[in-house]
Every structure is written in structure tokens, then in C-alpha cells.
Symmetry: C2
Subunit: 345 residues, 2 copies
């Protein structure tokens, strides 16, 4: 074999990892649990609940406060601010396209959006309600204008309850999707949807190994049934200076939920859609720029030192994952009845 032939073969071989990545796009609708089919009435109610600050103890924090759908689905903060100025321990994940993930929260401790929605309302740092019972009695049922909306969504009877609260919010969240992006148009055949640099970045993303974890239409790993997560250790190469600089190993990740040794520093692989809009980065929001996030990821996950050029190309590619956000109408919220105003204030 002549050297030129060998080079040609090598080029093909080298190219294989790049081509090996199945470039996938999102289905037009996300997976939906059988017991909570999406309906217009549920979505409308869920949108009301999502934007209503009265489901926090102080009446000042709504789902949207930290997962701001008018932004990239979070708040561009290292960590969010809950009731009474308290700060959380992890950066708020985006709500956009969360519906495509098979487990929820950074540590994947909940299997569905329904289960997730029940958490922050009673988290003492986030929305601080004493209990689900208090939430239902003193807020959901007390704001009587909600009842007809619950009945429209869930029928008559004792429908103003915590399960339906969570179901409605989850149904709304399943409409918060951006399946269309320059990237997705490119994969579907519009070869002009990406710039030359973005295509170069796409190839490097795959070749360098980012796609080993960040695969699938959401770049959050292979498709899994609801409730089954795709977890990876982060950081993997713990001797990197970045680990101490950005305090990447302190939070035990999934271990904090399960207390299993095997789950130490294991995290749900986060999606990369709209990643350019959701700085700062990582579970603790310690890394401020996307450039630096790419550099750190390559080092602590793949033990690779990327050149500035590689990083610029990959960041250009990641920008192509910014989606088309569907136009949304604002919900109208029922007024607080005068009989319960004193309780909320």
C-alpha cells in the first residue's frame, strides 16, 4: 500500500467517528405518559399555574421566575433566587424541551414532568409552601376562579388537587419545545441552514467525542423510556485543574438523591438545545461562557486540550441548536378572592 493510499484510507477511518454519529432531530411531539394525554384545556390551565406566583409561600415566586419561558427557559443565573432571597444549590435547568428528557432534575431523581412539578412548590428555598395540602387548600382551592379551569381540564368532582396541578403544568411544559433549529433544518436536508464554520464545528463535536454522551435529538443521550435516565460521571478526569477551579466535584450529583456510592458525581446528561441562551453553565453555574464550557468539558470528560479554533467552531455549531420558539399567549389569572388575601400577604 502506498503512502497516499494509506492516507486516503486513514482519512476515511478518521472520518468514521464523525459520520458514525447519527444526527437526529426531535420528533414533533414529545413522549407523553398514558395517564396524562395532552389536551388544550390542560395546557391552558397549566400555563396559568406556571405563571402564578401565588403558589409560593410569599406569593412572589412562580415556576416562571426561575424557568423563564420568555428567556431560554431559565434565568441566566449561576443559581436561582427563591423566596426571601434564598439561593438554590444548583443552576435551574431549562424548561424548553425538558419534555423530551426521560428523567427530570439534574440528578434525574424524578421520572416525569408531572413528578417534577410537585417538587419546587414545597422546597423551602424555592417556593416554600408548607405542604401540598396547604398549597391545595389555601391557594388552589381558595382562589376559586381556578375551579372551572380544573373542571374543564379534568371533569367534575374533587379535581382541584395536587395530582391535577402537576398534570396540567406538565401538559403545558410539553408544548414548550423547539424541534426546529438551523441544526434540525440542516439534518433534514437544507444544506444552507448551517454556515461552513458550523458544519466544521459539527464534525469536530463528533470527532472529539462530545457526541458520545450528547447524542440524540436533544443532545442528551440515546432515547430512553420515561423514568430511565442516561447518566454520566462528571467530572471524569478529576485531576484537571478545572475541577478545583470551578468546584465541579463537590456536589455528589445523583448520589445526593440515592446515597448509593455508584451514583457519586453521576449526572443526567443535560440537553444542549438552546445552550447558547442558557449561560452560565454546569450544575453549579460556575462557568460563565460557552467557550469556556466547551474547553472544560473536553478536558474533564475527554482529557483533551482543544485549540481556540476548535472551540470557536464547536461553539458556532452549538449556536445552531438555538430553536424557533413558538409564539405563546399570556394566560389570564383569576383574581385572589378578598376572603383569602390576608392569608397570602
Amino acid at each position: 500500500m502506498k503512502i497516499t493510499q494509506y492516507s486516503a484510507l486513514l482519512a476515511t477511518v478518521i472520518a468514521i467517528p464523525a459520520m458514525a454519529q447519527q444526527w437526529q432531530t426531535l420528533p414533533e411531539t414529545p413522549p407523553t405518559p398514558k395517564d396524562n394525554p395532552t389536551t388544550a384545556a390542560k395546557v391552558a390551565l397549566g400555563k396559568m399555574l406556571y405563571f402564578d406566583p401565588r403558589f409560593s409561600s410569599t406569593g412572589t415566586v412562580s415556576c416562571n421566575s426561575c424557568h423563564n419561558v420568555m428567556l431560554g427557559g431559565e434565568d441566566n443565573r449561576p443559581v436561582s433566587v427563591g423566596i426571601k432571597g434564598q439561593k438554590g444549590g444548583r443552576s435551574a435547568p431549562t424548561v424548553w424541551n425538558a419534555a423530551y428528557l426521560s428523567v427530570q432534575f439534574w440528578d434525574g431523581r424524578e421520572p416525569t414532568l408531572e413528578a417534577q412539578a410537585k417538587g419546587p412548590v414545597t422546597n423551602p428555598i424555592e417556593m416554600g409552601m408548607e405542604s401540598h395540602e396547604v398549597l391545595v387548600k389555601q391557594r388552589l382551592q381558595a382562589i376559586t376562579g381556578y375551579k372551572p379551569h380544573f373542571e374543564k381540564a379534568f371533569g367534575s368532582g374533587d379535581v382541584v388537587n395536587i395530582d391535577n396541578f402537576a398534570k396540567a403544568i406538565a401538559a403545558y411544559e410539553r408544548t414548550l419545545i423547539t424541534p426546529d433549529s438551523p441544526y434540525s433544518r440542516y439534518v433534514k436536508g437544507d444544506k444552507k441552514a448551517l454556515t461552513t464554520q458550523q458544519i466544521a464545528g459539527m464534525e469536530k463535536f463528533s470527532k472529539i467525542g462530545c457526541g458520545g454522551c450528547h447524542s440524540g435529538g436533544a443532545f442528551a443521550g440515546p432515547e430512553k423510556p420515561l423514568g430511565e435516565g442516561f447518566f454520566m460521571k462528571f467530572p471524569t478526569f478529576t485531576t484537571s485543574n478545572y475541577v478545583s477551579k470551578y468546584n465541579l466535584a463537590e456536589d455528589g450529583g445523583r448520589f445526593e438523591a440515592t446515597k448509593k456510592e455508584a451514583d457519586k458525581n453521576m449526572w443526567r446528561v443535560p440537553l444542549l438545545l438552546n445552550i447558547a441562551l442558557t449561560a452560565p453553565y454546569f450544575h453549579n453555574g460556575a462557568v460563565q461562557t460557552l467557550d469556556e464550557a466547551v474547553r472544560v468539558m473536553a478536558k474533564v470528560q475527554l482529557d483533551k486540550d482543544l485549540s481556540d479554533g476548535d472551540i470557536a467552531d464547536i461553539v458556532a455549531f452549538l449556536n445552531s441548536l438555538t430553536g424557533e420558539f413558538p409564539e405563546q399567549t399570556m394566560p389570564r389569572l383569576p383574581a385572589t378572592p378578598d376572603s383569602v388575601i390576608a392569608d397570602i400577604n
Copy 2:
């Protein structure tokens, strides 16, 4: 003159005040200052600014936090909660139809929505920005994604400034109007728009004297040129027990702004549109129900003791002032650039 004739005459005389009230409706568009004509680009920008919490020092309070357009244009609280859980001194007035008022704030200290919009951002209790200069440099200009929206609304050049910030918000607020209500349809000729009780309440509202101040299409007094307020003393009959019970005289009203003795306890006559949605009532939010608000107003302003039946009828009428809220789309906000995230957090 026989007694029956006298009675008949008396009935006519008594009836005159009721008929004397000119039942007016709102014009389809509110008054607009000549130097800030409403345009679609300004309204779109103003809506973004209105919903953006990053113009508060903590990044947690937006215009909409206290003047919630998804509710009745305020927050159903006695007083609002600003940054760091601080509470203000007066109840947030509704933003809905504020565009029809000729002066702004409870004490009418600002002539236009433009002037009003500059206040809360630097109020240390409300949004707490150090100065307009800091707001412009560290937020408006630092969130670079705003620039094209300012240029679309105001042309090229040094357009990202505090005056245009206020102009855009005011332009948006001029779209927050509810000229259509059961009341307005009734006045325009749809005699089925009100119930019998509401019509009775309408007549009592006028006959008892409420309409002496609460006249005009917004029920906030006669039409005035922008900047000229319609003020009344509240409370007028200061010996009423309600004055101490609800602490009605403590706040000096317009006096606090002007320090003129003549302005003591003078207030801009508040509009009554959507009043059923904006409990609790009065400048200090001390009265929780609309029933009680009507009872107290009759006593402390007109020295009249209303029967429960009168109150029920008037409240029924006031419910007919709840308008049709225009459907609004949510704005999309530009992401915080990674270069300024540390400053906001």
C-alpha cells in the same frame, strides 16, 4: 299643592342627580403625548422591558411583578413586595387603563406614563437600581440583545437610554386598556348587557353621589389634559370610625409629594374599571372586600350609611365595569450575555 303632588315632584327632583350623571364610555384609544406616538415597534419593546426582571438590582422584580397584567393589573396585595422582600407604603394601582388617567401614581405626582415608568426602577424598596445611569449601562446596554429592538423603535444612534426605556414602556401600557365591558355595552345601547340589579346599582351609584367624583369613562373624574389631575380629599368626614379603623388619614397623600398644606390627604381619584378584580382597596390596601369599600366610601366621603341592599346593588354594578382583556402574546427576552452575568448575580 297636595301631598301626593308634592311626592311626585320630589321623586322627580330626587331622580335628577341619577339622570344628571353623563354615563360615558372610554374612547377606543387613550390620549398619547405628541412626542411619543404609539408604534408597533415601541409596543413590542415596551412589553419586553415590562416583563424583564433584570431591571431590578436583584434581577427578581419586573414591572409586572407588582402590576401583573395577567391579573387585574396589580397583585391583589395590600402593598406590594419589592426587592429583598421589602414592602411598599401604598397599594399598587392597576396598570389596566392607567393610560386614560391624566396624572400617575396615587398622589398624581407624575404627569404621564413616561414619567411614571422612570420611578420604580430606582426606588430602593421597589426595583432598587442605584441610578438611571447604572440601569442604562449595566443592564439596558449590557444586555446587548436589546439594541436592535431599541433601534427598530427609535432609529439609530444613542437610542438605548432612559427616556426611550420609559417611552417604550408607556407605549406598551397604552395598549393595556379595556374599553369594552358590560357597562360600556349597556351605555352604547345593549340594554341586556346589565342585569336588573346592576341597573339598580347604577342608579344608586349616581343618586347616592359616588358619581360626583367617579365620573367619566374611567370613573376617575372628568377628562383633563395630560398632567392636570383630578384630586379629592380622602377621607372627607374624618370623624367616622372607619378613619381610625382602616388608618385612612395617616398617609398625607399628595402632601407627601408637594409639602403644600392644601394637598393634605388629597388623592387622585382612582379609576373604578376592573375594580372587582383589584382587592384589597384604598391607597393602603386596608379594606379587603368591595362591599366594605363601598360602605366605607359612602360614610367617609358622603357621610351616608348605606343599607346592605344598596351595597349589594352597587357592588353588582361595579362588577359590570370588569372589561374584556385583549389577548397578548408573550415577549421573547434577549439572554443575559455571559459577560454581564456576574454583575446581575
